[in-house]
Amino acid sequence: MRVIIFSWEFPPRRIGQLADYVMDLATQLVKNEVETYVVTCHDYYTGQSEEPEGVKTCRVTNPVRTHSGVLTWVLTLNQEVERAAANIYYDADKRVSLTDVHDWHFIPAAVTLKNAFNLPFIYSVESLEDHRSHNADSSFNMAIKSIEHLGMSEAERIVVKSEWMRDEVVKVFNVPSDKAKVILPDSARWIEGILETYQEVVEGVVE
């Protein structure tokens, strides 16, 4: 199995706890013989590299330097994420199993790749805009929410880290409850749960 993970934070770029979670995930996947690529971003530490644990990374930087906020920053960074992912895809003779997208930032890229290559993606939810912004409803927050919504509807599977988050996802975005799967990060069967989900997505896709 060959998997591309998208995350806007990955060591050394740490914003919250997602960076270390994704690092842990990628490392465990490699140990379980999944060929794992992480596409992430960094202002100046860019290009392809390999972590000691065997995780292959590609860090991209924003082609547009001036931004009015995280939204415009994300929306111009996505094309670079697509470029990095497409390079992995073509270098692997188009044999990539899925992308695993952590939070909303690179949902647009995952959606494009899905439509272009029939490449399924999993939306792994760390947090939602409603909670981050305390239900703010400015056009800025609503636009981010609309990208989350796009991810919820286009993803093959949604992975959440608690029962509570599954209920929120079902309530806020009206997704069928069996589309969102709870995989507890601190459980003993965490990585098995992830691998099972990957397997389901790969098998569930009709070419």
């Binding site: 009015s68 272009a116 796009l150």
Partner: protein, 401 residues
């Protein structure tokens, strides 16, 4: 033997959605490319009442959801719209078994989608730069900088950059630091046939809606903004009226409108001017055909399509010697060139044309011939096709597969 060249064009406007000049440009270019044997898919924003897919003279037009949820500002909306456009375009290319040779993006408004598609499908991207933020507003504030940097990003990613005048080629070279061999000049065009249709049979009757029979019509068409030099024309009005009885018909809207009409009131010249606002295409063409002289007093002008329109309408033409206008008009042959931002020079040009009918006739006949020969869409699409073929050939020699 050769497989038909297939291009996917991206544009934020296509008829019936008309916001600026790109809509009509892509409409004419795409249809003409089809006539010259290129398969064209146009992906554009949706418009109320227009179908999501239709075929117009062989051009496959796809209209995508242009993102109608609230967005914080115009630039963010453009990026969000691109997200939707890219998603639909990617699905379409996939459906076509990736039988697309090139992507062609018009202005920064579709930069993200064009760049993303280029990398995902590994097909060359071409960009037409119609205007720049540097030229429009300058780049001082955050949003202007974002637009400028997005324009830069598009030209950086493009295999070739097409500009519509030599002036714009050198402007783009300077504004984005582009190498010479990346730039191609292909001028803009005008469809003469649209001016040959007699949609309004009695032009002299039509003319009376705008001017008295004894008044000559001086026509200005353009946005009423500083860069179009409309204030220079207003200052020239009394100087022209000293010599000729004329009515100044001003078509278009813009932030200077109130100021200018107030000024004309105080000058006691309100009765010699007519602000029509925005008019439909039919009225515009009939006005251009009725005008005794058309003026383009611009201070900054990437191309100057109104000059071509005047030439196609067989109206004599006075332009300021700047930007694309300098290249379109040959002084004393196809029109009169005057000094930019110079009231006396502009008044001189206008009176010269209005007072000498033989001279005016000679200018307009020469101008009409020039438009027929050089600025027709057939010629433009052939040149564009040549660029497509060159890029396709260059692409086939790379290992980018």
């Amino acid at each position: 033997m050769n497989k038909e060249l297939t291009v996917m064009m991206l544009t934020w406007e296509f008829p019936p959605r008309i916001i600026g000049g790109i809509s009509s440009h892509v409409y004419h270019l795409s249809r003409s490319l089809v006539r010259n044997g290129v398969k064209v898919f146009v992906v554009t924003c949706d418009y109320h009442g227009a179908p999501p897919h239709e075929v117009i003279d062989g051009v496959e037009v796809f209209r995508v959801d242009s993102y109608k949820d609230p967005s914080p500002d115009f630039v963010t909306w453009v990026y969000l719209m691109n997200m939707n456009m890219q998603r639909k375009a990617a699905a379409l290319v996939k459906k076509l078994d990736e039988k697309i040779d090139l992507f062609h993006a018009h202005d920064w408004l579709v930069a993200n989608a064009g760049i993303g598609l280029k990398h995902v499908f590994r097909r060359p991207l071409l960009a037409t730069i119609h205007a720049t933020e540097v030229g429009r507003n300058g780049v001082q504030y955050e949003n202007e900088k974002m637009i400028h940097e997005t324009e830069y990003w598009l030209t950086y990613e493009a295999w070739r950059v097409i500009c519509c005048s030599n002036f714009m080629v050198s402007h783009a070279k300077w504004a984005f630091g582009l190498p010479e061999d990346k730039l191609v000049m292909i001028q803009n065009g005008v469809d003469i046939r649209e001016y040959e249709k007699n949609t309004i049979p009695d032009l002299s009757q039509f003319r009376r809606n705008f001017a008295l029979p004894e008044e000559k019509i001086v026509l200005f068409v353009g946005r009423l903004v500083y860069e179009k030099g409309i204030h220079v024309l207003v200052d020239a009005i009394p100087k022209v009226l000293e010599k000729v009885n004329a009515k100044f018909v001003i078509v278009g809207n813009g932030y200077m409108k109130e100021h200018l009409s107030g000024l004309l009131d105080r000058m006691g010249l309100a009765h010699k001017t007519f602000f029509t606002g925005f008019v439909d295409c039919e009225t515009l063409r009939s006005l251009q055909k009725s005008a005794d002289v058309c003026v383009a007093p611009s201070l900054f002008e990437p191309f100057g399509i109104v000059a071509l329109e005047a030439m196609a309408a067989k109206s004599p033409l006075v332009v300021s010697d700047t930007g694309g206008l300098s290249e379109i008009v040959e002084h004393d042959v196809t029109g009169v060139k005057v000094y930019p931002d110079n009231t006396d020079s502009l008044a001189w040009g206008i009176t010269r044309v209005l007072l000498d009918e033989n001279y005016a006739n000679r200018l307009k006949n020469n101008a009409y011939r020039k438009v027929q020969e050089n600025y027709n869409w057939d010629k433009i699409s052939q040149r564009t096709k040549t660029v497509y073929e060159t890029v396709s050939k260059e692409r086939s020699r790379t290992i980018w597969t």
